[in-house]
Assembly symmetry: C2
Homo-oligomer: 632 residues x 2
Amino acid sequence: MTAPPTTALGPASDLAQVFELAQQLRVDSVRASTAAGSGHPTSSLSAADLMAVLMTRHLRYDWDAPDDPAADHLVFSKGHASPLLYAMFKAAGAIGDDELMTTYRRSGHRLQGHPTPVLPWVDVATGSLGQGVAYGVGMALAGRELEGRSYRVWVLCGDSEMTEGSVWEALDKAGHHRLANFTALIDVNRLGQSGPTELEWDTSAYARRAEAFGCRAIVVDGHDLAAVDRALTTAADGQAPTVVVARTVKGRGVTEVADKNGWHGKPLPGDMADRAVAELGGVRDLRVRGPRPPEATPVSVTPARTGGPSSPPRYDVGDEVATRVAFGSALAALGASRPDVVALDAEVGNSTHAEDFRTAHPERYFQTYIAEQQMIADAVGMAVRGFRPYATTFAAFLTRAHDFIRMAAVSQIDMALCGTHCGVEIGADGPSQMGLEDLAMMRSVRGSTVLYPSDATSAVALTLAMADLDGISYLRTTRGAYPVLYADGESFPVGGSKTLRHGDHDEVTLVGAGVTVHECLAAAERLAADGVRARVVDLYSVKPIDTEAIARAARDTGALVVVEDHHPEGGIGEAVLSALATDARTRASAHPAFAHLAVTGLPGSGTSGELLDAAGISRSHIVRAARALVER
Amino acid sequence: MTAPPTTALGPASDLAQVFELAQQLRVDSVRASTAAGSGHPTSSLSAADLMAVLMTRHLRYDWDAPDDPAADHLVFSKGHASPLLYAMFKAAGAIGDDELMTTYRRSGHRLQGHPTPVLPWVDVATGSLGQGVAYGVGMALAGRELEGRSYRVWVLCGDSEMTEGSVWEALDKAGHHRLANFTALIDVNRLGQSGPTELEWDTSAYARRAEAFGCRAIVVDGHDLAAVDRALTTAADGQAPTVVVARTVKGRGVTEVADKNGWHGKPLPGDMADRAVAELGGVRDLRVRGPRPPEATPVSVTPARTGGPSSPPRYDVGDEVATRVAFGSALAALGASRPDVVALDAEVGNSTHAEDFRTAHPERYFQTYIAEQQMIADAVGMAVRGFRPYATTFAAFLTRAHDFIRMAAVSQIDMALCGTHCGVEIGADGPSQMGLEDLAMMRSVRGSTVLYPSDATSAVALTLAMADLDGISYLRTTRGAYPVLYADGESFPVGGSKTLRHGDHDEVTLVGAGVTVHECLAAAERLAADGVRARVVDLYSVKPIDTEAIARAARDTGALVVVEDHHPEGGIGEAVLSALATDARTRASAHPAFAHLAVTGLPGSGTSGELLDAAGISRSHIVRAARALVER
């Protein structure tokens, strides 16, 4: 630290001072990554001028009060440019030079290789490229539609990530919703990780694409501070969603690496770093105090309407009701008591029954059309702003958003997902529409909850419960209508199970969830007719799992048949085995005999019954498996 | 069947005859879906004119010889319009009216709800919307770059699916590669599943977008046969990738449903179907014999070069080599002996070491930039054409393509995937870059093989083995360099394992894969120093798994510690438990004591060693877990 502190920079500072700030951001990006021994300095240098102008003159933000509801939001979609972001934190006085220089990328510290919300100035984790625009769109939508606030959302993108379809899926929505509070800045520095980008410096191609997707495009020299300032002024005029296409130079300001391939993701060696800092004018200690958020005005959002049912649906035992139907009704009722609940749909609301929510609460219902990645990103953006999203599509199509779900877990988002039409049970539509991998996907999400009701009563209870769960919760629902098993008022704690049938001398336990519970019940009847006593467990909570009930059943009966409408890997059978393996009493006693019935072949079309049977998970297969265990 | 067969239609037929064919396709779409009791007749009716013109005058195809290498390809991206596709099969004489009327969507039959390659005229399964364009681009790329053939690829899209980012990710590549052999037809019928589409009949918006992404756009009235014919003639002129934007009417030709909301995915009731058939002019039995494929000309593709190493790399035991490095070297060597092997990269080839293949075989290396969905779609398209793709990116980012991988399994594609940078082992880059869900994802893919080498020698052997495996195989590689454990020449059968350390009186078995094998070996040393005898198993084949070796170890030692750099759900621990649960001898004997060490917390940045330790999967944690089991 050789330079003395200078006067704080603010909106009134002239561009010569902003240039000094940009150079400081460059210097600190170089210093931090060299000190860490890894990181992406050249990707930071290209965007330093953009960010210097933004934070000094346009980003309305109080770094001491990052939760101010009126504050703008900044998303670093190019999360690898974290040295630049953290240099901005330092320039804002949010962190000190010591933290930047000694903790970046180090174990146990918050300045990670890519930004995550462990930092109070970061809303969403980035680092999986192509996601920042999508989250920004979600936040901008929340601000305008749900909060009625005037904050703006700014997203810094790399040019390499513009080849991700998800970026265009998101910009389509920026255009569709006319999100005038949204601005993306593309740092077109021409060089990707391993070579030139697809479009290199063809800034007009980026502009044509942005405009074709309904956004306003402004092409600028990203190192011309006045031009950048004009572009951001225009972007903030409240007229249109805007994409600023900034032609930049990777490694700008450091002759040895500027516009040179082979320097992506590499810190400068110490001697090069010293020369770079010197070339950039040395270490500075400028402090930025940019525009403040507008005074927190009374929120003008449309008040939650009281339309729709205010109490959850009730069903009579024996009635045939699909769990997806019960989900839709419950969600609509939940919306009446919980104004923070919002519903998101990927153009299948009449199949998933999410449309019940639209009928009751149209102001909190978001149609993303067939765009599952954006649906999840919208949900994340709304969750960041304090809402409780329920995002719904076919279970199979949630796989399209796997990477967004994975990153939402890194962002520690609380949200509910519902996947309908799971398994071969769906029947005639065939394998493309069958969710047969979703339990594996959702169980493997860190901190997730996975629920799978077998009847309408439990579907209602679990739908309501999801509104208060931490992390990402998942409800798996079934297409067909099956008898209601539980009386209204029954409780379904997360982590519990229901033993639907049991006796003193049960010889085998049949464990199912969803549709296979009904198959297990039918199988138990048949077994009883033959004198075989079977216990039946409804494992409606797949994660967390009711280890105690399963272990007790294993000890009591000595034999388990687990049946699931899912591939065998990562689903209910393996969840049960994991539970038993970690249960101390099971480990001390003899392990139960075990049969696992799951979908292993490639299904086709047919009726539900035919397909359950063809997959080997129907009542007749359960009877056979149970008998084999009992007779062993 | 009331109408007599008429003269066959062909390229010389006039448009009045083509109109009769279109009406026949409509009639049969209505009849088939009504007979099945489900299906999407209105979505078929809108595109019937497009397909009648295509199959009569432009699609160069011999329905008796679908494998003709010179034949054009047709992908129904809107797979729900299967009644139309199957009506085309009937018009071509490929199937009979009886099959269409009595087997559509029925159990055990090939005319499934959405088309799959169990039909010889279908290349790829569709039904997950937004994928057909991507596969078409892959096939067009294979035709031009790998086969040197002049076939054309035609893709029929719905308008609803144009909101999927994957479509634009694909069209970007059609433009980038200037794929003049590629044409997409968008059936803009304005109505989606649950209401109007986002862009409704704004055909110029679709055209602007297609042009912005480098394609030629032609807007037509999709029911004006002459206009459609001109558009397809232009599309086939070999000048540019083309998007035909066809304004159509959903339910066209049937007054009761035409352009009416609420008729998506619903067969017409019997009486309505009768009226519809009458309005459409009744049942016909026209036969189409369209243009034939060009004579199979000698393929002009660049012959495989002999550049690069021709024998696989060899490593000395003890050398420190990253498995990703060994993978790249092995792949490059494989390319020399296997001209069908191609490599695909998502702009991380210098990290994954896929770039070694580019150096050796640039003509079979495809850079998809940061576009994982398109990378998988290119691989699928190339596999359809008989090539053996190796598609590689970070394990974490393969989640972006989960739905494409899922559908590739429905298409029964043979291909190899490699995910690098798995687990917390990657260190400073942080959780966004860590593959911690990939084993769960890839194990749950039907028919998959999952391999996870711990050293360079096994990485080479498994990379080579993947070239001959059926289905989708996955290789998980590690960022860091670790000692070579196996001498050159060691064999690594798929489904096997290696017992790296064992004795006559082992008290506990440590099971690892990848980096945790090295931790297990170090733990075994420490345990030995304390007098605890530990066996160490390298589970390099996660699926299929070496049940015999695991069960034997369980019996011999009575205690297993499974350690994995992955979330606990769906990974190696659960694979081991599944193997034990289905092993007859294990079930008959006492079950082993079991400890499962996996990544449960949210990791940050740090060194590999720090992060393995913080996640509880390092040698010291293994020692502690083993000791607890032994002392129980």
